[in-house]
């Protein structure tokens, strides 16, 4: 029951972190973010497949959850 989390380049740069993590499915995105030691406020966008999801989205087996930061704001 695993899923993966991919960080966008903006978030990787911001956190100075790796870009790909394997996590247990069945948790909310928010819980997964916190368990990776990331401040949830720094994650602006959660994307699964082609759709934006909220941080309350329950991660399903096999999901690739993409997390993006906003560093520039237009």
């Amino acid at each position: 029951m695993t899923a993966s989390i991919r960080l966008s380049d903006s978030l990787k740069n911001l956190l100075g972190s790796e870009g790909l993590f394997t996590i247990e499915a069945g948790h909310s995105v928010r819980e997964a973010i916190v368990s990776l030691g990331i401040n949830p406020d720094l994650v602006a966008v959660v994307s699964v497949g082609d759709e934006m999801q909220s941080k309350d989205y329950l991660i399903q087996e096999g999901d690739t959850v993409r997390l993006l930061a906003v560093i520039g704001g237009g």
Binding site: S8, V45, V70
Partner: protein, 607 residues
């Protein structure tokens, strides 16, 4: 000169004559182009005290060396003038295809001078340059004007036009291009209207000399590849700037009911996801852009099409007015674009008026009978028309919130959300000290594009007041606007996080001059100081007072949302300014010291 089209066109509207002069090599060396050219010519040529809407003011339209080149985002154009909205510097950036075409017509800049005795449009087709009668177009809205030109002349012509807002010289009138791109802020459209220029229509087929063609191709391809490979490209294309609506709401940055809070209970109705599902039909980009952020939308409710809305309009015309329906925001966007007024200033001004109404300062007697409750859709649509046409209550709102609140008094200045007379764009800054400082010190007034630091606030501590935050804001102010100097879009760096060093070989291959980012930031620093000197020259008593934020952010904590009870203390506001002035090399009143001017080599420019 490599990297330049080679000529600057001056149009004397008073006499109806043109002169073309070579793009000065020393100005290109020192200020590169775009907003660098803009402030150089503004300081040098517009006399002190010029009326922004009078013949002495100039409208300076400039490209940069990457405009029109095969470099991602090379479609940006700078419009500089003395701002009717603020009385200070205006430098508005416009995307689309105009600047590329201007360069292909052989022009790095166009400078509009004087005032035409009758409505005209400027027609340019390579070396054929004419001022043509526009009396039949005067009074028409922007989409109709653009459509007429495209039908008459062909799709290859690029058009920048004002609407009734510009003709009526509304303080925040904008210039429209490509049915949905604007030179939006500060009232550049009012200046064009004051000069009786309805439109600029241009087409060109010339090429731009490049120093090293092989290296240019290689560097351009490397930039495109970086964009294509960027994690996040997919989401950026799908949602554009609307990616942040949800997040701003969560962190208390979404302007809500005239910035009285930073979270909106109806935000879901205006989220990017909602917009994509309900109204977006396709994506739309500027010249040569690999990451098109423009969203073309159709509202079934209003049976209308519009490019947008993007985040700023959603914030100001949506949550800021108590609107929770993306179709309403899209329609308000359409009305503003078509009539030629800036959505940010218009949404902010209407928000101020709604708060006045809520507090009983305005009644229906003042508002031409409009029930100006937050969320009243019809009142918003009607007011947009009244502002653009300068009718009734719209006259007051068209002056912007600084002047309007000064006229009305009764404490309304305290919730007039502007800095230096420019209405704040769509980030609420009750408790985000770096972003607050970015707005306070932005060189056009309260605009976000020079320096944007909310994520940084959240990363290091949003209420922290430390020199590092100030240094970050200054670094961004020197660096980000350099994209407006070189004629490019910053969003590939900003949103896709591509390596900014990739631009260095591209710029070198085009111009033949090596400039590191350190060199470019030095140019950015000089330009920043020049814009500051312009404000000081044009406004008696200019200084620290002008940098203060709206009182709302240090006196009036939100009672709801993510920033409930949070505020920035006035003493912290002043500490931020003290640190900022010191780091910039300015005196305690916020003016560049002689030493700073000398260090930057600006003695001759500001003399």
């Amino acid at each position: 000169m490599n990297g330049y089209a080679g000529k600057i066109l001056r149009v004397n509207l008073t006499t109806g004559t043109f002169t073309k002069e070579p793009t000065p090599a020393d100005v290109a060396r020192d200020f590169i182009g775009g907003r660098g050219f803009g402030i150089y010519f503004l300081l040098k040529e517009v006399p002190k005290g010029a009326d922004p809407l009078g013949p002495e003011n100039k409208l300076i339209i400039s490209s940069g060396p990457i405009s029109g080149m095969m470099i991602p985002g090379g479609g940006k154009c700078d419009w500089t003038t003395k701002a009717p909205l603020t009385g200070g510097y205006a430098g508005a950036s416009m995307g689309g295809h105009f600047t590329a075409e201007m360069r292909y017509a052989g022009l790095d800049s166009i400078i509009l001078e004087g005032i035409s005795p009758k409505p005209v449009y400027l027609f340019i087709d390579n070396d054929r340059i004419e001022l043509r009668d526009a009396s039949g177009l005067w009074g028409k809205a922007t989409f109709e004007v653009e459509k007429q030109f495209k039908e008459k002349l062909g799709e290859e012509y690029q058009i920048a036009t004002i609407g009734p807002g510009g003709e009526n010289m509304v303080s925040y009138a904008c210039i429209n291009h490509d049915y949905g791109r604007q030179a939006g802020r500060g009232g550049v459209g009012a200046v064009m209207g004051s000069k009786k220029v309805k439109a600029i229509v241009l087409h060109g087929t010339k090429s731009i000399p490049v120093a090293d063609m092989q290296a240019y191709r290689k560097a351009g391809m490397a930039l495109y590849k970086a964009c294509k490979d960027a994690e996040g490209l997919k989401e950026w294309i799908r949602y554009g700037t609307t990616t942040v609506v949800d997040w701003c709401n969560q962190v208390g940055a979404l302007p809500t009911r005239n910035f009285s809070a930073g979270s909106f209970e109806g935000a879901e109705g205006i989220y990017g996801k909602t917009m994509r599902e309900k109204i977006v039909i396709t994506d739309k980009g500027c010249f040569g852009c690999p990451s098109p952020c423009g969203k073309y939308s159709r509202s079934k409710k209003y049976n209308s099409y519009v490019e947008g809305p993007e985040y700023e309009t959603i914030g100001l015309m949506g949550s800021n007015l108590g609107i929770d329906d993306i179709e309403v925001v899209a329609q308000a966007n359409l009305l503003c674009d078509d009539l030629g007024i800036d959505t940010i200033s218009a949404g902010n001004s209407i928000g101020w008026a709604m708060e006045c109404y809520q507090k009983g300062i305005f009644t229906k007697k003042d508002t031409d009978g409009l029930d100006l409750k937050f969320g009243n859709v019809e009142a918003i649509f009607t007011l947009i028309g009244k502002i653009a046409r300068k009718e009734g209550f719209g006259v007051l709102l068209g002056e912007g919130v600084k002047r309007a609140s000064k006229k009305i008094g009764q404490g309304t200045e305290k919730f007039a959300i502007h800095v230096k007379g420019m209405e704040q764009s769509a980030y609420a800054t009750h408790n985000a000290t770096a972003m607050l400082l970015a707005y306070m010190t932005c060189d056009v007034g309260a605009h976000h594009n020079r320096s944007w630091a909310i994520t940084y606030d959240l990363q290091v501590g949003r209420d922290l007041v430390v020199p590092e935050k100030v240094a970050r804001v200054i670094w961004l102010q020197n660096f980000r606007p350099m994209f407006d100097v070189i004629g490019g879009c910053r969003l590939q760096w900003v949103e896709l996080s591509i390596d900014r060093d990739l631009y260095v070989p591209a710029l070198e291959a085009i111009t033949g001059i090596h400039r590191s980012w350190e060199d470019l930031e030095k140019v950015g620093d000089r330009i920043w100081n020049m814009t500051r000197m312009f404000w000081a020259r044009e406004n008696d008593g200019f200084g620290r007072e002008w940098d203060l934020p709206p009182a709302r952010f240090y006196e009036d904590a939100p009672t709801t949302g993510a920033t409930k009870g949070q505020i920035t203390k006035l003493e912290d506001v002043n500490r931020l300014l003290d640190m900022y002035y010191e780091q910039r090399g300015w005196d305690s009143n916020g003016l560049p010291t002689l030493e700073t001017i000398e260090n930057l080599g600006l003695e001759a420019v500001v003399a």
